[in-house]
Subunit: 154 residues, 3 copies
Amino acid sequence: MELELQLAVEQLHARYAHALDAGRLEEWPEFFTEEGRYRIATAENEERGLPLPVLYAEGRAMLRDRVASLRHANIYEPQRYRHLASSFLVQRVDDRVVSSTSSFVVIRVMQDGATMVFASGRYLDRIVVADMKYEERVVVCDSRRFDTLLAIPL
Amino acid sequence: MELELQLAVEQLHARYAHALDAGRLEEWPEFFTEEGRYRIATAENEERGLPLPVLYAEGRAMLRDRVASLRHANIYEPQRYRHLASSFLVQRVDDRVVSSTSSFVVIRVMQDGATMVFASGRYLDRIVVADMKYEERVVVCDSRRFDTLLAIPL
Amino acid sequence: MELELQLAVEQLHARYAHALDAGRLEEWPEFFTEEGRYRIATAENEERGLPLPVLYAEGRAMLRDRVASLRHANIYEPQRYRHLASSFLVQRVDDRVVSSTSSFVVIRVMQDGATMVFASGRYLDRIVVADMKYEERVVVCDSRRFDTLLAIPL
């Protein structure tokens, strides 16, 4: 039923956002299928058809490596993130997969309380219905400038 | 069924936001009925009952003119916008029309990456159920100050 | 039915946000049960298990007192707030109560138009299903610094 599918997709996105915002990075790879792909790109490069992702990872093993290196590099000041998502458009691709387009904004709160819009953009997802995991999550950021450390996954 | 109506309204809002954020301005008039009204007002004027919209357009022809003039005036630096919407309250008005109240925030990303909250406020909509188009969309902005160019529709 | 419950919870949150953003503070206590609890805490204190809320009120009478003192103290410049909420995870606790976790961001618009992210965080709610009111609403803010006046409820 389509309403239930829409809700299931929105809840996948919600659990993903809460895991990241709570700093539970080790859960992050579990939101993807075993061979799941994760890519961060800029809107500018996407429109120009330039295959230059800011970040690319394929398969849970690579995602776990990414988490490990983030944990290892964690010398930065303790900051917090808050994801907001909106405008979910879910469509059946076939019996196995749905696509989802949504908008996001991530807020960053520094230790001294300074708060800023850290990133905004679109999620373009392919989700396997049977286990509600991302087969592909493409994060298309509106800005072409990035905090090079990109402290957490988006 | 009410759940389906709620979802249909939220999806109308979602398609509208994605069209604007992707810069597909020519699609914007198509979200309205042939005689559809679009109005931007400030919360302050609304509360005082002052009939002084920041912008008013009635009918798709006027909306198309607005798009044409925006395209023509487009000398500004390429900026991007991201709409987030939330808190959708949908109510049946009659067999033909539903009303919808929701909150929005629009983020603006400049070419150098500077990101700011561009606008926030409420959408007050009247939507024709049969073809899921806006008969009226009133954008009540929280701020009374505006970027006079108002580069894109809200 | 779970879809209807999810929608009912989201609409409770939506009505709450619209009431606050419209400055209808007197409605605020009515969103809680007679003995309902409201607490603002920081994420840092929550993680450390420190029982030091920024604000605590129990029962509608205390919530009404809080509104009265806000109304009384209202010498501040007229500012506006805009709540955005996202990522709603609703779970049945028992026949009587559901829990809800969600994310929020509050935007503040000053009289001169200056706009900022005022607060962000999570709502952790216990909601009585029969009358759709908060038995408990815990606001866990990402920042540990607060505008000491905290002009409005979050």
